[in-house]
């Protein structure tokens, strides 16, 4: 659960006063919170941890890291989209 996964901001919106975004992790979409990266914009890449963007990252590093997650086969596990027990 400690890992953080890079993704690309697809759209940004205001939800009850909080800046939220749709982010794309290599084909998997998630809603995430931008409260901690107020200046980030559509098209930028960010490292995301448990639903929050915590650090901006350049595209090349983001793609490299995503490739690693894919190689390890843990992207879906990290994003909790495998269904699991929920």
């Amino acid at each position: 659960m400690c890992l953080a996964v890079p993704g690309q901001i697809v759209d940004v919106r205001d939800e009850r006063g909080i800046r939220m975004a749709t982010i794309d992790f290599d084909g998997i979409s998630k809603d995430i919170c931008l409260a901690y990266l107020p200046d980030i914009e559509v098209g930028d890449y960010a490292i995301v941890h448990v639903g929050f963007a915590i650090s901006k990252i350049d595209e090349a590093s983001a793609l490299e890291t995503l490739q690693m997650f894919r190689d390890l086969g843990i992207l879906e596990e990290e994003l909790d989209v495998t269904g699991g027990v929920s």
């Binding site: 400690c2 890992l3 998630k30 901690y36 941890h49 448990v50 915590i54 690693m68 027990v85």
Partner: protein, 368 residues
């Protein structure tokens, strides 16, 4: 044995291994604090490809692993109640409490749900006004801002059916407990990159000075880890002790200031018991007085619940780097990821689980 071609840039990996071998003239022990780094090291066999003189010690950097048994029992108690929806990150479900785990509570009819983000739990509280929604707020500094925001939002929305069971832990006091212990044998540390992306690097300077120990902020990809090791060894060989940042593409000196502010608003520093290690002073966060009404321990009156650890499990020694997982007699015998005796066998970031997953099958002797 692992091979270099498993690295995504084998040429760079080889040059880093060669460089480390070239500069190493004596024995050094380096601790990686982050469980993600432990996982990368064991999976890629970095510890086996390094020169014999460079030993890696796996530190207490997995929040699932250090959450005390007493807290797990509190979670099980609360999750079993009929009016409760208990929300947690997935890897807490199989962590053994004194007599069962959250999975068992769930199969016995408890409403236990895995959420991706603590905000999902806040939304569940809003959608289920007749239920008490409890979120299991564990983690290091990386996770705390998310959990703080969840509590803050619940307060803003006036949700009186949302609460959190908090067991947050902090990395710098754990490093200090290890490096300041009389039997410490760690010569240098790899600090956890994602913790520092929130907190910055400034917290580590005083530790470097006080204990004259190199600390290198390091990412968790295999090449990041290798570069962190190279920088620690280079400092040690030069007789230096400095704070260095090998993960500057993500980590800045000051960290994520808005996230730090939210954490300061919602949490306050407290002493914490670390599973397998024991009490470490000012090593955690709990809810600040203004948010105490969101504390599940008080709401469900489980504050004083406590529990003794399994006698067989040596996770405390593993977490402090005193033994390697395969030196525990239960490893692979009584204790496997399906039947974990200690939390270090549960989480994929735990050292015992990493050894079980990658070392048992590679033919490397595992000492059982």
């Amino acid at each position: 044995m692992k091979y270099l071609d498993e690295f995504n840039d084998p040429v760079l990996a080889k040059s880093l291994f060669d460089e480390i071998r070239r500069i190493t003239t004596q024995k050094w022990s380096i601790m990686e604090v982050c469980g993600g780094q432990t996982h990368a090291i064991i999976r890629n066999g970095i510890d086996q490809l390094l020169p014999d003189d460079v030993e890696l010690i796996h530190g207490p950097g997995c929040p699932v692993c250090v959450t005390p048994l007493g807290v797990i029992d509190k979670a099980l108690d609360i999750a079993s109640r009929p009016d409760v929806i208990f929300c947690s990150f997935g890897d807490m479900l199989r962590v053994p409490g004194s007599s069962r785990d959250l999975f068992i509570v769930k199969s016995d009819g408890g409403d236990v749900r895995v959420v991706y983000s603590p905000l999902d739990a806040v939304n569940l509280a809003e959608q289920n006004p007749d239920k008490q929604v409890v979120f299991f707020a564990i983690g290091f500094e990386t996770t705390a801002p998310a959990n703080a925001m969840a509590v803050h939002m619940a307060k803003e929305r006036g949700l009186d059916n949302f609460s959190v069971l908090v067991s947050h832990v902090l990395v710098p006091p754990a490093i200090e407990a290890i490096v300041g212990s009389p039997d410490n044998r760690v010569d240098g540390f790899l600090a956890a990159g994602h913790v520092c992306s929130i907190m910055g690097t400034w917290q580590y300077g005083p530790l470097v000075e006080k204990y004259n120990v190199p600390i290198v902020v390091t990412g968790f990809e295999p090449l990041d880890v290798l570069e962190g090791i190279r920088r620690v060894v280079a400092q040690l060989e030069n007789g230096e002790a400095q704070l260095d940042n090998a993960y500057a593409r993500v980590v800045s000196d000051q960290g994520n200031v808005p996230a730090q502010k939210m954490v300061e608003e919602v949490f306050e520093v407290c002493d914490r018991n670390w599973r397998g290690i024991g009490q470490i002073g000012v090593s955690g966060w709990r809810l600040a007085p203004a948010y105490r009404s969101f504390d599940a321990e008080y709401r469900f009156d489980v504050v004083d619940l406590d529990a003794p650890e399994s006698e067989l499990c040596r996770a405390g020694e593993v977490l402090q780097g005193r033994i390697k997982p395969n030196e525990c007699e239960a490893f692979g015998n009584e204790c496997t990821p399906r039947t974990p005796l200690g939390a270090t066998m549960v989480s994929s970031e735990g050292a015992c689980a990493a050894y079980y997953q990658y070392r048992r099958l590679t033919g490397t002797p595992v000492g059982i």
